[in-house]
């Protein structure tokens, strides 16, 4: 019976494999072992693996080592321990998988673009770069949206908020990954979260610059919601692909759910608010992020013509509403829309 020993990285990928046509082999750091592991935490003569009494089983013997061995989570004693084919042994900081010839070795999988992205993201240098970009962007936002009363302490307080969110997001996905035993790399998830944040912030700013001249505030907010939604879903897709092995269809359902919860409702509120004038804040966007030369300016006559159009359109809306009310033939409930008058003069109270 053959004994196949695989050196396993990240509990998943085989990085070295040897097959022995023998009943018993030794594993250790010393060069005269059958399978040599160059791990300083592994003893010179660490394990002895021999064929078990039944097929596809082995007897594993820890040779009274300093750091010991684990079979799964179980620590091995000095007595030989029975194990099944395909089991993973942890010795020092190394994992090896033992199997017999009957288990097939899968052909190597090609590295996908996502995998390479993950490897790229897992580099701490890249992560620091992305985090720095987020910080810079956020601090610029804090700067322009503040007045002279801004203190350095407040500045950093405002910045810890996005950073904290990033950490929590990264930790969440790392734990999810841990749970389903796929790749777990906090740094990679942190990079992805930060990248998402950065793209969303940059998008919002870009949109406000481009759209400030398009004179469509509601459209602007809808678009920015939509763009944010796309970016967030893309990032969730990335996190999920890397952290879990949920099958694609379920993943899609999950993403749709996230999209609905995070964005459809706010969009609905926005549209509803615009129609009710409740959420009306026409100058919500940045007033002028670029010098004035970048914007078209209408003449007063042009604007007066458009104002006249709005009056016509409002009258049209009113007549549609009147007809709808007539058809329903049920008087509509009057909903008070506005709060107290903003007038400066003291208002009379009617004494009914």
């Amino acid at each position: 019976m053959a004994i196949i020993v695989e050196l396993v990285a990240n509990d998943e990928h085989t990085v070295a494999l040897r097959s022995f046509d023998a009943d018993s082999i030794s594993i250790g750091r010393s060069l005269d072992n059958d399978f040599v592991v160059t791990d300083p935490y592994v003893d010179p003569y660490h394990l002895r693996v021999s064929a078990g009494e039944t097929p596809a089983t082995f007897l594993i013997e820890d040779r009274d080592t300093l750091n010991g061995s684990r079979l799964g989570r179980r620590r091995l004693g000095s007595e030989p321990q029975a194990a099944r084919s395909g089991c993973t042994l942890h010795i020092g900081k190394t994992s090896v998988r033992i199997s017999d010839s009957s288990s097939s070795v899968e052909p190597a999988q090609e590295l996908t673009a996502v995998d390479s992205f993950y490897d790229w993201a897992a580099s701490s240098l890249v992560c620091m770069g992305v985090l720095a970009a987020v910080l810079l962007h956020a601090s610029f936002n804090v700067y322009i949206s503040s007045d002279a009363s801004l203190q350095p302490a407040q500045y950093f307080e405002k910045l810890t908020n996005p950073m904290g969110t990033l950490m929590v997001t990264a930790a969440f996905w790392a734990i999810v990954g841990r749970f389903v035993k796929r790749r777990v790399n906090f740094v990679a998830h942190l990079t992805i979260a930060a990248l998402t944040q950065f793209i969303v912030l940059a998008l919002a700013m870009l949109l406000s610059i481009v759209m400030v001249n398009l004179n469509q505030v509601t459209l602007l907010s809808l678009l920015s919601f939509l763009a944010r939604g796309v970016v967030f879903v893309a990032s969730i897709e990335l996190h999920l692909r890397l952290a879990t092995n949920v099958i694609p269809r379920r993943r899609l359902v999950f993403e749709m759910l996230v999209l609905v919860v995070m964005f459809i409702y706010p969009i609905y509120k926005q549209v509803d608010g615009a129609s009710q004038f409740r959420a009306f804040a026409p100058y919500n966007s940045t007033l002028l992020p670029l010098p004035l030369q970048f914007y078209n300016t209408s003449t007063m006559d042009d604007f007066m013509a458009r104002a006249a159009e709005t009056l016509t359109e409002a009258q049209q809306l009113a007549s549609e509403k009147r007809e709808a009310a007539l058809q329903e033939d049920v008087p509509q409930e009057a909903v008070p829309q506005e709060d107290a008058p903003r007038g400066a003069a003291p208002n009379e109270q009617s004494g009914d």
């Binding site: 804040a281 919500n284 007033l287 300016t297 809306l317 400066a344």
Partner: protein, 424 residues
């Protein structure tokens, strides 16, 4: 028997005319007791009271009260009904035959003949005369308060009598009478403990003389009220546009000042202690809106300016500061979704000021909504920020509520032209 009683009361009244005022108020009240009614608006579904007011008979079948007391009947007659309660606690059914939404008056008609009615005073009392407000405050029972006639309130449009005496909730629609028991005004509102407002009796006399019989029927009320409001806004507009709008210096900008006598202006300023921005603000409005119903107030003009300047903030920070500070400005009147259409808006960077001068540039937002039942009226809401100066921003705003299309546009045009920087 009743005649005997009345005659003796009249005699008593004549006797006390020269006596102390406490006795006079008592006598006035006793003499006119039978002409006073509590006006109750009852919710049909629950049978409970939805609003209470007072009223008084002006002829054998007609009772006058405030429009706002019975407004829910005018706007949704299917949901409520109106009844009168006399001093014997007997109830009378009535129908509404005329309304004057602008002057806040309504006439009710009772099919049964009413036992007593009040005469309208032919002459305006002189300022300082003692007069008496009658009504049923807080449903406590008919009562009388004594106060001083202080003339027609200055610059009020529509006109109101300033009455220095208590007018309380529930007395609305009740009469204010002179010592002879003649009506000089109709209780309508209170501003403070002893500052009350009355509708001058001349407005009631005018309504009684109008040919309101032709305007009867529920849908017609809306048309009638729209016509009354259109007339009011055109009065407003003719006062607002009587003169060229004189530009006044305001911070470092030029803006129009008080445009008409019926508008009052208030000012406020903030030092740049913490924010680094100095703010000067002026708000002008006619304090008195016409309440068509709870959810709809109209006939309102307000315009506001804020001048922001800084020596420490950069342009982008100043602009952000201004945008954040005035985020969520709203029209100053109330309107419900059953009263008006949704807003339609236009927004742009627009040249402001006078064409012959170097034009200013502002980011302008203009929104309008049309009234549903009061056809021909609109609300307009305007906001602008100047964007052509690095260290200062002029924020301007106006609300016109219950204005016609043409007047709205004329006001907008004038307003845009009036916003500018002083020529250096």
């Amino acid at each position: 028997m009743r005649d005997l009683l009345r005659n003796s009361l009249m005699l008593a009244l004549l006797a006390v005319c020269s006596a102390g005022s406490a006795e006079t108020s008592q006598d006035v009240f006793t003499a006119k007791r039978e002409a006073l009614y509590q006006v109750r608006v009852l919710d049909k579904a629950s049978g409970d009271r939805s609003s209470l007011g007072s009223g008084f008979a002006v002829s054998e079948h007609i009772v006058a009260t405030n429009y706002h007391v019975i407004s829910s009947y005018v706007t949704s007659p299917e949901r409520v009904r109106v009844e009168l309660v006399d001093n014997q606690q007997a109830t009378h059914n009535v129908e509404i035959i005329a309304v004057d939404v602008v002057n806040d008056l309504a006439l009710l008609r009772s099919s049964a003949a009413l036992p007593q009615y009040l005469q309208l005073a032919r002459q305006e009392p002189t300022q300082g005369t003692v007069i008496y407000a009658l009504g049923n405050p807080f449903d406590l029972g008919m009562s009388v308060t004594q106060g001083i006639y202080n003339g027609i309130r200055e610059h009020s449009l529509p006109p109101r009598i300033h009455y220095s005496g208590p007018v309380n909730s529930g007395m609305s629609g009740g009469p204010s009478v002179n010592a002879a028991g003649e009506v000089v005004g109709i209780n309508v509102a209170t501003a403070n403990n002893s500052v009350g407002f009355l509708v001058p009796v001349a407005q009631l006399a005018a309504l009684l003389q109008q040919d309101w019989r032709s305007a009867m029927g529920k849908p017609e009320f809306a048309k009638l009220m729209a016509a009354q409001l259109l007339e009011l806004q055109s009065t407003y507009m003719s006062q607002l546009t009587r003169n060229d709008w004189q530009a006044e210096e305001f911070g470092g900008a030029l803006v129009p000042g008080q445009l008409a006598p019926f508008v009052t202006c208030w000012g406020r300023s903030e030092e740049p202690d913490k924010t680094g921005v100095t703010i000067i603000s002026r708000g002008c409005s006619n304090g008195q809106q016409v309440q068509v119903k709870n959810s709809l107030t109209t006939a309102f003009v307000e315009y506001e300016f804020s001048y922001l300047s800084t020596s420490v903030l950069s342009q982008v920070r100043l602009f952000n500061f201004a945008a954040a500070r005035f985020r969520g400005a709203r029209p100053g009147n109330r309107a419900g979704s059953a009263d008006v259409s949704n807003f339609e808006c236009a927004e742009d960077h627009v040249q402001t000021g006078l064409p012959e001068l170097d034009p200013g540039r502002a980011r302008v937002f203009f929104c309008t909504r049309a009234y549903l039942k009061l056809e021909g009226l609109y609300d307009a809401f305007f906001v602008s920020f100047s964007v052509d100066q690095e260290d200062r921003v002029l924020f301007s705003h106006f609300t016109l509520a219950g204005f016609s299309r043409d007047n709205t546009l004329e006001f907008l045009d004038r307003f845009l032209r009036s916003l500018r920087w002083p020529s250096s």
